[in-house]
């Protein structure tokens, strides 16, 4: 039983760090440029498709990721410069509409290039096994690798933001945009860099998700809404909030799915109740979000003014 609980916790972490990689970029773009970017999920999709394609070319997962991420970041950069730059000064609704349009565009573009059928991407050979922690306790190495990479990226981001000049500007931008401009910083360049970084992180999430989830058109939107839940729970603009929110959502979702249907069945002894339990499990993260927002409208870690 404890072994199972540990495995389920790891499952929660794994979903959590995937969400974190998505959320990190989104929350920075939101916090610094004050931009709601619905098309963030498209970079996740592009990352997965590019990695899958490069795996076919190089026959190496790491090499594929190495090529796919900068390319996805470049796509992000282009999108920022061509379409989104003019939207920063607009209100959120214009941004929602415009980036909704971008989603449609990217989904259709990917469908034209790669076809409508999901494509294959295998687990890299060196991570295809399972790690034994104990007699009853084993876990797929690849999922463990995702957790490790996720945490490493989180630490890296934290170091970058707290120790580097770029990080200082990002922090300053998140709490007071006008001040950064007043300091004479090339704000356009800063914005472009942050946007490309966010796109790259989303692409990393997509690349790592490729071997376990199906690489298909529309995969970005499935995770996008969860990502918004994460950044709102964590507090917009806060990397720490994104991390905590992501892990929280990962754990609540995992344990909700595992425990609620069984609990409902145990309580009532009917399979209909089991279905209700499964429905409540789907609602659990939204209940969590509503509760957090009700008590802390700015999320768990609001960015200080």
């Amino acid at each position: 039983m404890t072994a199972l609980a540990i495995v389920q916790t790891l499952n929660g972490f794994q979903l959590g760090v995937t969400l974190f990689l998505m959320a990190a970029g989104l929350t920075l773009v939101f916090g610094i440029m004050d931009m709601i970017n619905l098309a963030h999920g498209s970079f996740y999709m592009i990352g997965a498709y590019l990695t899958a394609t490069f795996v076919g070319v190089f026959d190496s997962f790491l090499l594929a990721v190495l090529f796919a991420l900068p390319l996805a970041a470049l796509v992000g950069l282009l999108v920022e410069m061509v379409a989104l730059r003019t939207l920063y000064q607009r209100d959120h609704l214009d941004q929602v509409l415009a980036t909704f349009g971008l989603i449609l565009f990217f989904n259709e573009l990917v469908k034209i290039i790669w076809g409508p059928v999901p494509i294959f991407m295998g687990v890299p050979e060196f991570l295809s096994g399972r790690i034994m922690f104990g007699p009853d306790l084993e876990y797929p190495a690849y999922r463990l690798a995702i957790i490790v990479v996720g945490f490493l990226v989180a630490i890296g981001l934290w170091l970058m933001i707290s120790r580097t000049r770029l990080g200082m500007l990002i922090r300053a931008g998140a709490s007071n945009r006008e001040m950064v401009t007043a300091l004479g910083v090339n704000i356009k360049l800063l914005y472009s860099l942050v946007f490309a970084l966010g796109a790259g992180l989303a692409a990393l999430a997509g690349a790592m998700a490729g071997p376990i989830y199906s690489v298909q058109v529309g995969m970005g939107e499935q995770i996008l809404i969860l990502t918004f839940v994460v950044i709102v729970i964590g507090g917009i603009g806060s990397i720490r909030g994104a991390m905590v929110g992501a892990i929280l959502v990962g754990l609540v979702d995992t344990f909700g799915r595992v425990l609620l249907p069984g609990a409902m069945f145990a309580l009532t002894g009917s399979t209909a109740a089991q279905g209700v339990g499964s429905a409540i499990a789907s609602m659990s993260i939204y209940i969590l979000m509503a509760a957090v927002l009700f008590f802390r409208p700015r999320g768990l870690f609001p960015v200080k003014v």
Binding site: P116, I212, V217
Partner: protein, 394 residues
């Protein structure tokens, strides 16, 4: 359910009131067909295969259906019931189609049925075979050229029982077709399963459920996960190390040609049930499989085979009536005869307009060219009918 009779009379009365405004196709030398199918979004692989199969059928018939020139009105339902209804309305009223076909998903089929029945438009489903339309609510304008939803699950229930597995764990998405699937499995396997698990529709990650499953240590697992869910589940099943310890079984939908390339070797060796297989030995099937690969440069899925059969069926009925669709009773009678050579071999309609046919066991293998596909293993059911047809008054 009592009201059903009166509802059909209402539909008939509505048509009379409309002054039989339906287009008379036979005089113009064309037959107008509405193709409602999923062409965008995650489910589009199935829809595109069905449509391509249908088109190939027409090509193999020399570009005609029953000697008439087919005019096809295509619509993308986006896997969304309200969009499908919108398309059905447009095709019936503006495009004046005689027959609507396509429709992959059961919920979409149920949604468009009132619109089509009301306008007395024939509906030849190439895939969706909901139980609702098979029993008491069977409809004189509905024909299914694929199967009743439960059939492939029933076949696997029988097979898993025959193989002597005693601790079976069964899983499906939590939606009506998922629940029907597991009910169909249990109809022939029996009720004594280890656990019956329903996951939210569209779920991506099954790690939590797989961990739970592992702790129960079943001796076989039966799943119904169509589309992207299937890809995720099967691959994660292998990654969790379960494939080596616990055999996985499923209906064809989880191991179909539209998914196999994306699932990869994780699916190898898995046995699944289907009414069709690419290596079924008959002339029509050989022509279909070869033609499909040549025309579209990929292997056909069962959805493509069903689309192909739909074209052959419509052609056969038009041949019988001499191209006349305006006499609804005559055309219905012609469809019921199913006077065509199916890619599946024997094929006939039951009283409820669902097929009576054989169901096979298949195995996922690698073909000579290194492509992952299905191969026939054995026949599970011969001339199998669905469990609802007795309730149908037709």
């Amino acid at each position: 359910m009592m009201k059903f009779a009166s509802l059909t009379t209402v539909a008939a009365a509505a048509l009379l009131a409309a002054g039989s405004g339906a287009a008379v196709a036979d005089q113009s030398g064309e037959v107008r067909i509405g193709m409602i199918t999923t062409l965008s979004g995650p489910g589009s692989g199935l829809g595109i295969d069905a449509r391509d199969g249908f088109q190939l059928g027409i090509e193999h018939l020399g570009g005609t259906l029953g000697g008439l020139e087919p005019v096809i009105f295509e619509g993308d339902d986006q896997q969304e019931p309200s969009v499908a209804v919108e398309l059905a309305g447009r095709m019936v009223e503006r495009d004046e189609v005689d027959i609507v076909t396509g429709v992959i998903w059961s919920n979409l089929a149920l949604a468009v049925m009132p619109t089509l029945a009301r306008s007395e438009t024939f509906f030849v489903s190439v895939n969706a075979g909901p139980s609702e339309l098979a029993g008491a609510q069977c409809n004189p304008f509905f024909f299914n050229v694929a199967w009743q939803n439960d059939n492939n699950h029933e076949a696997m229930g029988q097979h898993v029982r025959d193989e002597g597995y005693e601790r079976v764990y069964i899983m499906a998405p939590n939606y009506p077709a998922g629940r029907d699937a597991l009910a169909g499995f249990k109809r022939f396997y029996g009720d004594d399963v280890v656990d019956e698990v329903y996951t939210p529709l569209g779920q991506l990650d099954y790690a939590a459920e797989l961990s739970q499953l592992q702790s129960e240590d079943p001796d076989a697992v039966y799943i119904f996960y169509p589309g992207g869910m299937g890809i995720n589940f099967i691959r994660q099943y292998e990654q969790a190390g379960l494939k080596e310890t616990t055999p996985l079984f499923g209906p064809a939908f989880s191991f179909s040609q539209d998914l196999l390339p994306a699932v990869g070797e994780a699916a190898m060796g898995v046995r699944n049930t289907s009414q069709w297989s690419p290596d079924l030995d008959n002339e029509v099937n050989a022509r279909f499989v070869e033609g499909f690969e040549e025309r579209y440069d990929r292997l056909p899925s069962l959805y493509a085979s069903q689309g192909y059969d739909a074209a052959l069926l419509i052609d056969s009925a038009l041949n019988i009536t001499g191209g006349d669709v305006s006499d609804k009773d005559a055309f219905r009678e012609a469809l019921r005869q199913a006077d065509f050579d199916s890619v599946r071999g024997d094929f006939e309609f039951n009283n409820n307009h669902y097929p009576i046919q054989d169901y096979y066991l298949r195995e996922v293998v690698m073909d000579d060219e290194g492509r992952i596909t299905n191969r026939l293993v054995s026949t599970i059911f011969e001339d199998h009918a669905d469990a609802y047809h007795q309730d149908c008054a037709m």
